[in-house]
């Protein structure tokens, strides 16, 4: 019986080198009947967990290892014999990575010697072993006697017999044992082509140029014990050496006992005691003396579960971070599987009162699944950095690091890289990648190739497509996770190597969140959310100007006025529900209570849309269809959503209740949903799911629909717990908008960029809600937009918004501070401002272009003219005084006397509007379309508001500035276009065919006209476009420029006007 273990394996986590996934290698090793497999990627542990998990599943002996590529010695294979050795090896890699740039590892032999205790080594001879190698080998044999092997390869290069004999002689001489390996780079020889391509990508050459950089043959694959025995016939001891190593290395990744940081309480309490103590405190704060019995029971239950699983320390850590944020006035809110628990609510981690929701804690932390809880915390996007710094400072770099994200090949990047290697021209490559919209995994359809002028029969092209499909999902490099922190009690680098991130001062562990989860390591997501910044700023303004103190939890709940506003789709600026799709859903769904908002947030998602769940839900909600349940058991699951599954949890629950999945299987399904990109991960569950449901008496149609929805969740699933946390922010932001529109307007402008709309639309919306908005001015503005007392006797009772300097493109915050600091008394004139503020002429020019000198009696052009005459730096005081004696002091003296008042051309309203847009991206004077209205009217164009008066089916023309273009992946190529004119927004629907025909117009026009038919659904109105026109040249009329419309001038003016934002 032949036995063999392969101990030198390079997976595709040796980026652009190995040509097989660790899982494939493990599976193949099992199929070949190997006694075990070691993964030895280059200076990296990145692929270990995947191999380990697969091997655990298949029952194969799996040895974590590494190939150490050193700067001053031959490469070594290294396998740790026990947990302590593993920690040392991980520390060694961390050392090499931390002193090298991102993705590299600088190690020397001396470093290895320092960390060698408990490791087994094998040395890789060069192709032509020389005297230097022999010397090194002797040296190392002295160091590591008894745990060093010399690797023997069969290279298939003709002289293998002689070469192997030479090496064997060397080993005999130094009394070293031999180890046979096959230097595996792929699990099957068929991957040789892909390996060649990877080599070319790495070397940045085409396949023709690669030459000697490619391997000559395809021999570096996993071999059966019999084949290995044949190749190494004369060296049985080299073949059995692997088994000895396997025997001596008793370490498995399962031994990585992960310990969460325990920060004991003030009175020496243990973690569970401390948590319970804090919960009691929190209960008093939230409920005063009287805790509702239901809540008390729920808390007891959750605490018991936490105690059972030992997660108290985790909850305490999250709580510490949240407390820190709160102490700094940083707004935050938790979400994620464990966040919507009563414990999290009373600790203040979340603000969704579990009494208002019916969320089951078990669903998130279950004893059965043994899976760590997951809490993501959103922070204000501008201040997340402070929180991250706090974590590093509190726990130290030894104990805290970011999780990695494995960047993988997607269709587009795979096509691009393979195409380059295959020598396709940039034109062809461009045409090829353009046929791909977003994330796709289907092979490209030949018809689509022909459409873009490519010949699907071309061999090169076919090879490119084949290889790109093979390359799909290959890891390309590691990047940092957006905010997933791993925190541990013992030094992290003893668990997993830590490397530098691209960002200065950041460190990243080599494993991503799936890896961490598989090993039961806890992580906390520290995320950034723009809306939290906006809400915090609004709270600050409320306190400062109106004396109202408020936080996320104390916003008055269930205010009917807020829901009434949302039912009208009056939602610009409101978190999540401001998108076109959400806005058209609002009047249909007519939210009346908090849970309606949870549904609103979750329903406009690719998941429910692709699963065709939206319309049934709406029909049932409006009573046009009876609410019925396929079964009693499902009534419990789907009761709150009227029998229609809308949330990820429901999908899982259906799998368990209706398809007979075990909890673990359902969890696997959820994982497959999250990792939808992994090939075929979900397909395995399909048959099992549908059959399971059929067996329990459900209709096939219903079963198929449920599964389609699960697939949809793969693209973007929304769990109920997330939706609930988001819904809370929807409610808070809507409440602010409804009751304090001026506060909301200033706050959201100060939190830009965020959300769906540009400042122009936000300001316009505020003005339509009666808010007075005042222009930027050097005498009144601050960096941020601010509130000012209402002006005039009969002014509106609300405060007015003064636009801040931050609205000016190209004006820096530091300059604004200097200006404001020097403004302790009013400016006398421009020269006075120049001298006192010390601002450069360039900065003043920017202010002039923003028309911010009106309070000094200078319009835009006069201000600009005056500023241009200033010296770059302010004049010293006496020179200034000298000049002050002259009349008309804005103008500097000129040789020969006083400068006459300039004959500057007067600006028309149109020019002012265009120039406003150029610096401020908005204009308070007029909408550009208002100025063109006469012309448009003559052309029979109807305003956006005018559309509302037209009957469905009527054919009309409207025109406006393109605000948003959206081509959702779920809409079958339809483009949604939002146009804006002086009366409001017009919603266009452009079908895929029309889009192709009018692509230049649709993508290029700033001012776009559309002819089409009116379509109405409830109060929602669309114009289904039939023809599109690019009327951008008409914008020239705004500046009444008659020097001739050259294309470049049209482009120049168009550039100043807002550009539509594109969304998927």
């Amino acid at each position: 019986m032949l036995v063999y273990a392969e101990l030198q394996v390079t997976s595709n986590f040796s980026f652009l080198r190995g040509a097989s996934h660790p899982e494939e290698l493990v599976e193949r090793a099992r199929d070949l009947g190997l006694a075990g497999l070691a993964l030895t990627d280059r200076n990296s542990f990145a692929g270990l967990v995947r191999g380990h998990v697969k091997a655990r599943e298949l029952g194969l002996r799996f040895l974590p290892g590494v190939r150490l590529d050193l700067e001053d010695a031959p490469s070594l294979l290294c396998w740790p014999s026990d947990r302590a050795a593993y920690a040392r090896l991980s520390t060694l890699l961390t050392l090499g990575k931390r002193r090298a740039p991102k993705g590299r590892c600088h190690l020397r032999l001396a470093d290895v010697l320092d960390h060698a205790e408990g490791q087994l080594f094998a040395i890789l001879p060069p192709e032509e072993p020389d005297a230097l190698f022999r010397e090194r080998l002797g040296e190392l044999a002295g160091h590591w006697r008894g745990r060093l092997w010399l690797v023997l390869h069969h290279l298939h290069r003709g002289d293998d017999v002689a070469r192997m004999e030479r090496l064997a002689g060397l080993a005999r001489e130094l009394r070293l044992p031999l180890l046979a390996t096959n230097d595996v780079h792929y699990h099957v020889p068929e991957r040789r082509r892909l390996q060649d391509v990877l080599t070319c990508i790495r070397e940045r050459c085409t396949i023709e140029e690669a030459g000697g950089r490619l391997f000559a043959n395809a021999e570096r694959h996993l071999r059966s014990p019999a084949e290995m025995a044949r190749l190494f016939a004369g060296y049985p001891e080299a073949l059995s050496a692997g088994l000895e190593i396997l025997e001596r290395c008793r370490f498995s990744l399962d031994q990585l006992a992960y310990d969460y940081p325990v920060r004991t309480g003030t009175a020496g309490r243990g973690p569970q005691e401390e948590l319970e103590y804090r919960v009691r405190q929190g209960l008093r704060e939230r409920y005063g003396g009287e805790v509702p019995a239901e809540v008390a029971a729920r808390i007891r239950h959750e605490l018991a579960l936490i105690a059972e699983l030992g997660y108290a320390a985790y909850f305490l850590t999250v709580h510490d971070i949240v407390c820190f944020a709160r102490s700094r006035g940083i707004l935050c809110q938790g979400r994620g599987s464990a966040a919507n628990s009563a414990v999290c609510f009373v600790l203040g981690i979340t603000n969704v009162d579990p009494a208002r929701m019916d969320l089951l804690f078990e669903r998130f932390v279950s004893a059965e699944r043994g899976e760590p809880p997951d809490i993501d915390v959103d922070f204000e996007h501008e201040r997340r950095e402070e929180v991250i710094r706090y974590i590093y400072e509190t726990y130290g770099r030894e104990h805290a690091a970011l999780a990695a994200t494995v960047i993988r090949y997607r269709t587009r990047s795979a096509l691009r890289d393979v195409g380059k290697v295959m020598g396709l021209s940039p034109d062809t490559l461009d045409a090829l990648t353009r046929t791909v919209w977003g994330i796709e995994r289907r092979p490209l359809d030949p018809a689509r190739l022909r459409e873009v002028g490519l010949d699907p029969g071309d061999r090169r092209l076919r090879l490119t497509l084949e290889l790109a499909a093979e390359l799909l999902d290959f890891p390309r490099h590691l990047s940092q996770h957006v905010g997933g922190f791993v925190i541990a009690e013992s030094p992290l680098h003893e668990l997993v190597p830590i490397e530098n991130a691209a960002m200065e001062g950041r460190t990243v562990v080599e494993w991503d969140k799936d890896d961490l989860e598989a090993l039961g390591m806890l992580k906390i997501d520290i995320l950034a959310l723009g809306m939290l910044s906006c809400i915090r700023r609004a709270f600050d303004l409320l306190r400062e100007h109106y004396g109202i103190a408020m936080d996320l939890a104390s916003v008055p709940a269930e205010d009917p006025a807020v829901y009434a506003m949302l039912c009208e789709a009056d939602a610009i600026g409101v978190f999540q529900v401001e998108s076109r799709a959400q806005m058209s859903m609002l009047p249909r769904l007519r939210p009346r209570c908090f849970y309606d908002l949870v549904i609103e947030v979750a329903i406009v998602r690719p998941g429910p849309i692709q699963g065709d769940m939206v319309h049934p839900y709406l029909r049932r909600r409006t009573g046009r269809e009876p609410v019925a349940y396929p079964s009693r058991e499902l009534e419990a699951v789907l009761g709150r959503t009227l029998g229609v599954p809308l949330f990820q949890e429901q999908a899982m629950k259906i799998a368990m209740v209706a398809a007979g999945f075990t909890a673990a299987e359902a969890d696997g399904l959820r994982r497959a949903m999250a990792a939808f990109r992994r090939r075929g991960a979900l397909d395995r569950y399909r048959a099992r799911f549908v059959d399971g449901m059929l067996a329990r008496g459900y209709a096939r149609e219903f079963a198929e629909r449920c599964f389609r929805q699960i697939e949809g969740f793969g693209y973007y699933g929304f769990p109920e717990s997330h939706a609930a946390s988001f819904a809370h922010l929807v409610y808070v932001s809507a409440w602010l908008k409804r009751h304090w529109p001026e506060v909301f307007c200033a706050a959201i402008l100060n939190a830009q960029p965020m959300g769906f709309y540009a400042p122009a639309q936000l300001v316009r919306d505020a003005r339509e809600h009666g808010v007075e908005v005042r222009p930027v001015d050097v005498s009144h503005s601050f960096w941020d937009c601010s509130l000012e007392p209402p002006g005039g006797r009969r002014g509106p009772p609300k405060m007015a918004v003064r636009l801040g300097f931050r609205m000016i493109k190209g004006f820096r915050e530091e300059e604004a501070r200097r200006l404001v600091a020097a403004r302790h008394r009013p400016w006398h004139d421009l020269a006075d401002l120049h001298r006192r503020s010390g601002l450069s002429r360039t900065a003043l020019e920017v202010l002039a272009e923003a028309d911010a000198f009106r309070s000094l009696g200078l319009d835009r052009r006069r201000a600009l003219w005056a500023v241009q005459a200033l010296s770059e730096a302010p004049l010293p005081l006496f020179a200034h005084a000298e000049r002050r004696r002259r009349p008309d002091s804005d103008a500097p003296p000129v040789e020969g006397g006083e400068e006459p008042r300039p004959l500057l051309p007067e600006a028309s309203l149109g020019e002012e509007v265009v120039e406003d847009h150029a610096r401020l991206r908005l204009s308070l004077r007029a909408h550009p379309l208002a100025l063109l209205r006469d012309t448009l009217h003559r052309k029979g164009v109807i305003t956006a508001r005018g559309l509302l008066e037209r009957a469905p089916g009527e054919r009309v023309t409207t025109a406006g500035l393109v605000v948003v273009r959206q081509r959702p992946g779920s809409a079958g190529g339809i483009v949604f276009l939002t146009l804006e004119d002086e009366t409001g927004f017009a919603n266009l629907v452009v079908r895929a065919k029309l889009f192709e025909a009018f692509r230049p117009v649709l993508m290029g026009a700033r001012l776009l006209a559309a002819r089409g038919r009116i379509q109405r659904e409830g109060t929602v109105l669309h114009l289904v476009a039939e023809r599109l026109f690019d009327w951008t040249p008409m914008l020239l009329r705004l500046v009444e420029d008659t020097t001739g419309p050259t294309p470049s001038r049209v482009a120049a003016i168009a550039r100043k006007l807002p550009e539509g934002r594109n969304f998927r």
Binding site: G158, P1000, T1043, G1044
Partner: protein, 508 residues
């Protein structure tokens, strides 16, 4: 008062030049009738540099990123821009314009200026001159706008912004004042500043006090303004005369003897060398013309593999040709002309003390001599090609070509020479990849005394012609008769078609 100047503007020059070049080569024009653009890489992005009319109508503009343009117009065809060729062609066109005036200048990127004071009467007046020039250029296939005005700046402005034509007399200033300020050729940054102040036309600026302008914008705005309106100087800098590298020698007594011709040739070569040296150029093509007393002309055309100007390099080449051509002197030659018709930059090199440079140059000279003697394309040398396949690892290149960057892969285990085509042989070997024990070459069986291998080489899968190719296992064998051979087995045992054995070379 400025000189009369004629300005030509060829707005579509890069694309029209490319079309013209294609037509000359007898190729179809690039992307005829389809939206077409030229692109260049700029800061890591592909940008459009020129477009033809169809694309322009569909909204493509120069300066657009190619990716943006494609979003608008997916079927846009592109080619890389060739700015160096455009510049050379424009310069050539400027020289061609010398037929109208000796003072011409290139007005990059797409214009030419002619100073025509005192020339126009030769063509029947300014109008006729302008029309003649425009007609000819249009016949070449160029879109042209042409204008004549006082001073280069005014003429240029009128050609580009005034629609072209002749500008003269008292009304000229008023018409120039109507032009947009872009006509002043100001730096883009200045132009933007003026536009922001609301200035659109030259006249609006002209009415301002010059001192105010100077204070804000420095000298350039006022200087341009004055040049355009004829108030200040607008100096014209013409293109220098084109260089010809021509040496001539006439004889009082006609020469007949070969030795005399060779002596004359040496003098001509020395003369030409001095001219080329001054211009830091070397000859790639030379033409020697010998004019016979009776009016017949003998001509020798010579092309070289690299730029040369040293008579020591050139003389032997000409001698070889003189040997071959058998010039019939008749009653003798009265004039010899030697011209370098095609030249390339050749900067004088410090002579190196190192042996290698001398060897290199000696090798190059040998190649040159052999090529002249045997004919170009008949002298080859081997060059390494990076390929694992033995027959592809070397390729012949012209002897004079510069050495490529390729390196020899390890070849110690391969024979120096291979058979042109591997010879099929019979073999007896152990399955699956044992070396042959017995081979049969052309019916003769040989026992193998010693064998080594296999060296396994796989086909280059990316090549069309290798689609059906199979793996090869090479063996070095020594027969009992002592012949050292390199044989391979094509294919593996167990495949649908059985493997074939071949002899590929000998170790001699």
């Amino acid at each position: 008062m400025n000189e009369r100047c004629l300005s030509l503007w060829l707005p579509e020059f890069p694309i029209e030049r490319m079309r013209r070049a294609a037509r000359r080569r007898g190729e179809p024009p690039p992307a005829a009738g389809r939206p077409f653009a030229l692109v260049a890489e700029e800061g890591g992005r592909q940008r459009i540099t020129a477009i033809e009319a169809v694309a322009r109508r569909r909204g493509i503009r120069p300066g657009m990123a190619l990716a943006d343009a494609r979003a608008v117009l997916p079927e846009l065809r592109t080619r890389p821009a060739e700015p160096a060729r455009d510049a050379a062609a424009l310069e050539a066109l400027a020289h061609w314009c010398r037929r109208y005036s000796p003072r011409v200048a290139v007005d990059a990127p797409a214009g030419i200026l002619l100073e025509i004071t005192g020339c126009s009467h030769l063509f029947g007046g300014e109008t006729r001159l302008l029309e003649d020039l425009r007609d000819r250029l249009e016949r070449f296939g160029y879109t042209v706008s042409a204008a004549i005005a006082d001073g280069a700046l005014a003429a240029r402005a009128w050609a580009r912004f005034g629609g072209g034509g002749i500008l003269s007399g008292p009304g000229a200033r008023g018409r120039l004042e109507e032009l947009p300020i872009a006509a002043l050729r100001l730096a883009p940054e200045l132009r933007t500043r003026l536009r922001r102040l609301g200035f659109r036309r030259v006249g609006e600026l002209a009415r301002l006090p010059r001192a105010s302008l100077r204070l804000r914008f420095g000298e350039s705005v006022t200087a341009r303004l004055e040049a355009m309106l004829g108030e200040g100087e607008d100096p014209f800098v013409p293109l220098p005369e084109p260089q010809r590298f021509l040496a001539r020698l006439s004889f009082a007594e006609p020469v007949i003897r070969r030795a005399a011709v060779e002596a004359a040739l040496d003098r001509l070569l020395g003369d030409l060398r001095r001219r080329l040296e001054r211009a830091e150029r070397g000859a790639r093509e030379l033409r020697l013309r010998l004019l016979r007393l009776d009016g017949a002309v003998r001509e020798i055309l010579l092309a070289t593999g690299r730029p040369l100007r040293d008579p020591d390099d050139l003389a032997p080449l000409f001698r070889l040709r003189l040997d071959r051509e058998r010039l019939d002197p008749g009653f003798g030659f009265e004039l010899m002309l030697l011209e370098a018709t095609v030249t390339e930059p050749l900067v004088a090199r410090q002579a190196s003390l190192a042996q290698t440079a001398a060897e290199e140059s000696a090798f190059a000279r040998l190649m040159e001599v052999l090529s002249q003697r045997l004919g170009r394309g008949r002298v080859l040398r081997p060059e390494p090609v990076e390929s694992h396949l033995p027959e592809r690892a070397v390729r012949p290149i012209p002897g004079g070509a510069p050495p490529a960057a390729g390196r020899w892969l390890v070849t110690a285990r391969r024979p120096l020479r291979l058979l042109a085509r591997p010879l099929p042989i019979g073999a007896v070997a152990a399955v699956p990849d044992g070396p042959p024990r017995l081979i049969e070459i052309e019916g003769r069986a040989c026992r193998i005394r010693h064998a080594e291998g296999p060296e396994r080489i796989l086909p280059e899968w990316w090549r069309v012609e290798e689609t059906a190719a199979r793996l090869r296992d090479y063996y070095r064998i020594v027969t009992e008769a002592g012949a050292a051979l390199w044989v391979f087995r094509e294919g593996a045992y167990g495949e649908p078609s059985s493997p074939r054995w071949k002899l590929h070379g000998r170790f001699d």
